[in-house]
């Protein structure tokens, strides 16, 4: 048989076509993808297919009759990746070194249920890249900042984006690398190391310095800088936008929203405010922690909310309706209410995705339903429930990415072109 994957080298948000030819007609086959992660875990996905009378299986066109995905799913071999049986628990697939591609081996096996008993008939390696050709990565360390700056090829100038992740901490560059591949100078900022939130000084000044790295960069258009954030990063973002005189972005994207702020010009307070409601944490039948009620309790305290009525730039809120980690949709409702009452409703774009969980990542990233998390206040490692059902969650990642890119393009690339 002949297996082809086109393109064999693609960006992580690009689709590919998997085609098998020269098979015996109308026979059962399984296509399986295998990835060995940087952490040493093995992830796999597979779909059961039947060849047609010309001996062909096309993942883009044919139905999968079962496996880790079913139905007509051109990218099912990527988004339904999950740890192989026997793996450690609570895993989440996140690329740390974005200068190299993710290598995924796609193989064809005879049969359906017992496919693993056979050796693969044919296989191909495919590369999935976060960084497009010519993208430059520059480590940012001056002024005490810790981040990675990604610059597209070409003369520029380019709009800039500050990229803030959430409660897990650390420096995660993959979304920034991908945004640079889409035409933005993007700064991924580490604002606390994993497990060290308590001891980190999260002053506004740190973020203002980072914002200036972008704004003052010779290749960045200074009045075209935006912010993208997830989870804890959304509180940071909204606080800065409302209260910092230095940070006036052209637009802001907040994914999986939180709104509980700490008083004053420091963000350190939330490592006190959130644990104050830890008595609201529930566990499910697998002992996974559900934190969304903590958020609901905090939402009831008006003094602890960022005053979003003061926001003056376009704001896009992306949330999952099955978010078990935080009450993201209720938070978005709250934000909506406040902004509408203040006459700022026209600035708001909201997308809520059914059956989607907390970790809304770039497209085709495997859905993480529950993952390991280090609780800084108690120095405990727990498994948090993030929620979402794999297929709708994956569709949401795909759709939200495209909507986010079009929102960013509209506000950062060409907003001077008024549409009649």
């Amino acid at each position: 048989p002949i297996l082809s994957v086109r393109p064999s080298r693609a960006l992580v948000d690009e689709a590919f076509e998997v085609l098998v030819e020269n098979l015996p007609p109308v026979s059962p086959f399984t296509l399986r993808s295998l990835h060995h992660s940087e952490d040493g875990d093995d992830w796999e996905a597979y779909g059961h297919y039947f060849s047609d009378h010309s001996g062909r299986v096309s993942v883009s066109e044919d139905l999968s009759f079962g496996g880790t995905y079913s139905g007509r799913e051109p990218m099912g071999l990527i988004w339904s990746l999950r740890p192989v049986p026997g793996s450690r628990t609570g895993l989440r697939l996140r690329k740390k070194d974005v200068t190299t591609p993710m290598l995924i081996t796609i193989s064809l096996y005879n049969g359906h249920e017992d496919f693993r008993d056979n050796s693969p008939l044919v296989s191909m390696v495919t590369e999935r890249w976060y960084m497009g050709p010519g993208i430059q990565r520059i480590e940012i360390t001056d002024g005490g900042l810790r981040g990675g700056l990604f610059i597209p090829p070409g003369p520029g100038p380019f709009p800039g984006i500050l990229d803030l992740w959430g409660g897990g901490g650390g420096l995660l560059e993959y979304r920034s690398a991908l945004l640079a591949s889409r035409g933005y100078i993007c700064l991924a900022l580490e604002y606390f190391k994993t497990g060290q939130m308590k001891s980190t000084d999260l002053s506004f000044e740190y973020f203002e310095k980072a914002y200036h790295v972008l704004k003052d960069h010779p290749q960045v258009i200074p009045d075209r800088v935006g912010i993208i954030s997830l989870c804890l990063g959304t509180i940071v973002t909204l606080s800065l936008v409302v209260e910092s005189a230095e940070i006036k972005p052209s637009c802001v994207v907040c994914i999986s929203n939180m709104i509980t702020k700490s008083p004053g010009k420091t963000l350190s307070g939330f490592h006190r405010s959130i644990p104050s409601k830890f008595n609201k944490i529930r566990v499910d039948e697998n002992n996974h922690q559900i934190w969304r009620d903590v958020g609901l309790a905090l939402l009831k305290e008006p003094s602890m909310k960022v005053d979003v009525a003061k926001i003056n730039c376009p704001l896009m809120l992306v949330n999952g309706c099955d978010d078990q980690n935080w009450c993201a949709v209720e938070t978005a409702d709250d934000i909506s209410k406040t902004m509408n009452a203040a006459g700022k409703g026209h600035l708001l774009t909201r997308v809520d995705y059914p059956d989607t969980g907390h970790l809304i990542e770039p497209p085709f990233s495997p859905h993480c339903f529950a993952g390991n998390f280090f609780v800084y206040s108690s120095n405990e490692k727990v498994i948090q429930l993030y929620g979402g059902k794999t297929k709708p969650h994956s569709d949401a990642q795909d759709d939200s990415w495209r909507k986010i890119l079009s929102f960013l393009r509209h506000h950062l690339y060409c907003s001077h072109k008024a549409k009649m």
Partner: protein, 437 residues
């Protein structure tokens, strides 16, 4: 709003492609109906700069799609999705006689594609483009392995496709320039064929002894492939260009040891002294070198060295005795070998012998001698170092760029289908088992 900041975006999909894959170049967000120049630049391994450019007018939404829109001038015109690659030419001021050939196939060819405002024909270095991207073009697909081969006295490189195998095998022979040229074998391995590029003129044996290899050198190469654990010994093909064709035709018809599943011969001839082998072929050329012509620019034309096609069967391979499928690819403007005339003669021989059902003949008007994998720039003339005299000459290969480039694209596609059909499926008449490949 700062008007001087351009909103123009430029994208090339895929940004990392195989050398024979098409891409789509899209310009968006320029002013509607604006004049734009799309420009490609490549610095090749030997340091020479190449460029190509085309003039477009954006549509009412400010977009240009190179696959759908018409270039109205530049190094190519018309609707040409890949024109920015095949029309690449040395930048003004370059040395004459350059030819683009990748030596290191493990790294991609990097091309910078930019868009400029207005219709420019020069001075690209002095202007700031509106946008620019980098594109990678690869000869090796991910997972393809490159294995240098020196055992059994061979000077070769084996490229194994990705996957468990086993795979059909192929021996890849180039022409009279010698050297170990890897890129075509690397690309074939990316298509699932275990391919071995073989140096047979400047190999270690020849460099050390001064002698030309004999048939047993090729038998060694064939046997190496045959016994390789990842190669299907019963499915080995040969592909050759120019002098490589002479070797292959002799082997295909007369070798008792090398049983080819099929053969592809590009820009070559069956004319050669039947007693003897490679050395005798080279001597035969030297003997006829009086038929060399020169153009008014002093370019060497060697197409007459083997003309007229002899009727004497001691001077040409009797392809009427061929028992495996043969594909002949020729350019009708080949100024280096009489490939077209030879192909016509071979066709006649096979028709009279009753085995012409084995023949696939692709003959391209206005294509020249160097029919290569697609989208690489056409060299009508280039500096060529003669193996035996070590002289550097400006040789005329022939072909008109547009038709030659189209021929390369068509021939490569058909070659892949031919190889796939003969190496991956189908039962040779008389053969008993069909492995479920």
């Amino acid at each position: 709003m700062d008007e001087k900041h351009s909103c123009v975006t430029l994208s090339v999909q895929p940004s990392r492609g195989l050398v024979d894959e098409k891409f789509v170049i899209l310009v968006q967000n320029s002013f509607p109906s604006s004049l734009l120049t799309i420009y490609a630049h490549h610095q090749c391994e030997d340091g020479n700069s190449w460029h190509a450019f085309a003039h477009y007018t954006s549509d009412a939404t400010g977009a240009v799609n190179v696959s759908e829109d018409c270039s109205i001038g530049g190094t190519y015109s018309g609707v040409e999705a890949m024109g920015l690659l095949w029309s690449l030419q040395p930048v003004p001021g370059s040395k004459p006689g350059l030819r683009m050939r990748k030596k290191n196939v493990q790294a991609p060819m990097v091309v910078t594609i930019s868009v400029y405002s207005s219709h420019l024909t020069e001075g690209f270095g002095d202007q700031v483009p509106l946008a620019g991207v980098e594109v990678e073009r690869w000869y090796m697909a991910p997972g393809v392995q490159r294995i240098p081969v020196t055992e059994d006295g061979l000077t070769a490189t084996l490229f194994l496709p990705s996957g468990p195998g086993p795979f059909p095998g192929l021996l890849d022979l180039w022409g009279g320039g010698g050297q170990l040229v890897e890129y075509r074998a690397a690309l074939l391995a990316s298509h699932g064929i275990a391919s071995m590029a073989l140096d047979y003129l400047t190999c270690k044996y020849t460099m050390e002894t001064g002698k030309i290899v004999e048939q047993d050198y090729f038998e060694m190469a064939y046997k190496f492939l045959q016994k390789h654990p990842k190669v299907l010994g019963s499915r080995i093909a040969m592909l050759g260009l120019s002098l490589g064709t002479s070797v292959i035709l002799k082997i295909a018809v007369h070798s008792q040891i090398m049983k080819l599943r099929c053969a592809v011969c590009v820009s070559g001839s069956h004319v050669q002294p039947m007693d003897g082998f490679l050395k005798e072929i080279l001597d035969y050329f030297s003997k006829n070198s009086g038929n060399t012509h020169f153009t008014k620019d002093n370019e060497v034309v060697w197409r007459d060295l083997l003309l007229p096609i002899p009727t004497d069967l001691s001077l040409k391979v009797d392809v009427g005795k061929l028992q495996c499928p043969l594909m002949l690819v020729v350019g009708e403007d080949d100024q280096n070998w009489c490939a077209y005339e030879s192909a016509m003669d071979m066709k006649g021989m096979m028709e009279r012998a009753g085995n012409s059902h084995l023949l696939t003949l692709l003959s391209y008007p206005n294509a020249g001698h160097l029919i290569e994998p697609p989208y690489m720039p056409h060299a009508r003339v280039s500096l060529f170092r003669e193996i035996q005299s070590r002289q550097k000459l400006m040789v005329l290969w022939g072909g008109q760029t547009l038709e030659h480039s189209r021929a390369q694209e068509d021939a490569w596609r058909k070659l892949l289908v031919f190889l796939r059909k003969n190496l991956y499926s189908g039962v040779k008449s008389g053969s008993s088992s069909l492995s479920n490949l």
